[in-house]
């Protein structure tokens, strides 16, 4: 089965009002080329589930987001995400604010077909008072109460991987797959952009296959987009683009806001975008971050 498609074909499979999971973590290995394709589309009223960074900020500022399920939105080295803050402070998005680990449990529940997973996480905090949809329940086995973290069922997930083959075997070669395997399993459809498209034989080396974190049946579509995580990192291929993020953050203080940033960089296609940020060689030469 050949699952290759274009970013435009991915977005054509998304609909207004869908719940969409976005892989990666903060400024790390986000499927930004697919996010940009949504920015070029007329999709709207999305519910996003994300360990958020500029993916959330951009989509919120562009008016694509109805509701956000989040534990944080941050660019790490720039702790506060400016457009997320504007969206929250203006009350323009609904939110379901949860703990980082609760998000993992919600994705696992969805992946496993469970209505919820019990946890003590959230008890005693505003997670349980500000979220009427998160129930606290009695246990059949002890006298304590527990948070019933509901399944976070996703209509679609968007993920960026280092490598994939045409059948949807995806490799994350960086040090952390984050929760991307759970985003893939929690979604009806998972679309993966990849820096490199490889032959299936590539995975015959067990050391390479060891870095495949979900089975190909959980991958619906593969889009070959070298540099597709820019300006986020795709360790070990490239780091995050610090000057670009600084320009993005600065744009939030300009009158034109995100539109000014988009006018400068987005372009009509990913090729336009990459030309506007210096090309694939420049992206691939961005130094890896030191933590």
């Amino acid at each position: 089965m050949d699952k290759q498609m274009t970013a435009t074909e991915v977005v054509a499979q998304l609909e207004d009002g869908m719940t969409i999971g976005i892989g990666g973590w903060g400024p790390r290995r986000k499927p930004m080329a697919l996010v940009r394709e949504i920015l070029r589309s007329d999709l709207k009223d999305l519910t996003l589930v994300s360990y958020g960074g500029a993916d959330v900020g951009m989509l919120a500022a562009a008016g694509k987001v109805k509701k956000l399920v989040f534990a944080f939105v941050s660019l790490d080295f720039i702790p506060l995400e400016p457009y997320f803050r504007i969206a929250r402070q203006s009350g323009s998005i609904e939110v379901m604010e949860i703990d980082e680990g609760m998000m993992l449990l919600g994705l696992r529940a969805a992946a496993w077909g469970l209505p919820f997973i019990p946890t003590e996480v959230g008890l005693g905090t505003d997670i349980v008072t500000k979220n009427p949809d998160i129930k606290v329940i009695d246990s059949p086995y002890d006298d304590k109460e527990w948070v019933a973290m509901p399944a976070l069922k996703l209509d679609a997930s968007l993920i960026h991987a280092d490598r994939a083959d045409a059948r949807g075997v995806c490799q994350i070669a960086g040090p952390d797959q984050y929760m991307d395997d759970w985003f893939a399993r929690a979604a009806d459809k998972t679309f993966v952009s990849c820096d490199e498209l490889v032959d299936t034989e590539f995975f015959h080396d067990p050391a390479e296959a060891r870095l495949v974190h979900w089975e190909r049946a959980a991958t619906s579509g593969v889009v070959h987009i070298p540099g597709g995580a820019h300006p986020t990192s795709c360790t070990p291929l490239y780091g995050f683009d610090v000057p670009h993020f600084k320009a993005y953050v600065a744009s939030a203080k300009d009158e034109a806001g995100l539109q000014g940033y988009l006018d400068q960089f987005l372009g009509a296609t990913e090729a336009d975008y990459q030309a506007n940020v210096g090309g694939i060689d420049a992206i691939r030469s961005i130094e890896l971050p030191t933590y």
Binding site: E100, V121, E145
Partner: protein
């Protein structure tokens, strides 16, 4: 070991904060931010070599990494993988002690990292979000570092958004006891505190050199329990300062407290 005479307030705080990890045994010490990370690293290098530590990315280390850019030939002392999903396996096992810097800490030891002021639907100031604070606070011990001790941080009333559970009887979950909650040390630029006062009231543990009890109380919007004899926070030893300097070769610690004051302000 004799105390050094020439040290900064940041270094005093690192040494004071490292004591939080001294008797932890074999747990993951997570210090978020320069001073907490150096405090955990100092403890691992000196008082508690059994501590576990990550590289703040995805690996466990048997030796803490120095902060900032490291030479090309540097080889981290990796001992296992520790990606984010596995962190939660550790958090929920309780074998961890985190030291973090929330924006608000109320009289109950509840903290806020998310929404400030306004309404929850449209806060006046939005910060990071709840992050891992809810899970940390109910799963394992936690300490706090506050670089600027004032009444905006140690504020009147309850936190605008409660990210982490504290000693508030009104919010205590069914079947739990306040003693299940384990807030350890609160290290600030003025003093060290804990929640060991009557009924888990915040309590002064030690005053940094040159700081008075009145200064601490004036900068805390709720009553601080003060025992009769409050010791002075111990000055770093030269050996501790040497370890800190090796862990922080770019002197990032100098940028953590406003104007990088000396440790003794007497």
């Amino acid at each position: 070991m004799t105390a050094a005479t020439d040290y900064t307030l940041a270094e005093l705080c690192i040494v004071a904060a490292s004591q939080a990890f001294e008797n932890d045994g074999e747990v993951l010490a997570t210090g978020i931010g320069v001073i907490p990370r150096l405090a955990a690293s100092l403890a691992m290098k000196t008082t508690n070599p059994d501590l576990m530590m990550t590289d703040s990315e995805a690996w466990m280390l048997s030796e803490p990494n120095p902060l900032g850019k490291r030479p090309a030939e540097f080889v981290p002392a990796t001992e296992s993988w520790m990606g984010f999903s596995r962190i939660f396996d550790n958090v929920w096992s309780g074998k961890r002690h985190a030291m973090l810097g929330p924006t608000q800490i109320d009289r109950y030891g509840q903290s806020n990292t998310s929404a400030l002021g306004g309404t929850y639907d449209a806060p006046k100031v939005m910060m990071l979000g709840a992050r891992g604070f809810p899970g940390n606070s109910i799963s394992h011990p936690n300490s706090f570092f506050v670089p600027s001790h004032n009444t905006r941080v140690f504020m009147d009333g309850e936190c605008d958004f409660v990210s982490s559970i504290g000693y508030n009887p009104e919010r205590l979950p069914k079947g739990h006891s306040l003693d299940d909650i384990d807030i350890r040390l609160v290290i600030t630029d003025l003093c060290v505190m804990d929640f060991g006062g009557p009924d888990h009231q915040i309590r002064l543990v030690s005053l940094h050199p040159g700081v008075t009890v009145d200064q601490v109380q004036e900068n805390t919007a709720y009553p601080v329990h003060v025992d009769e004899d409050v010791p002075t926070t111990a000055a770093p030893t030269q050996a501790q300062l040497d370890v800190i300097a090796a862990l922080d070769p770019h002197n990032q610690r100098a940028a953590q407290i406003k104007d990088n004051p000396p440790g003794d302000r007497g």
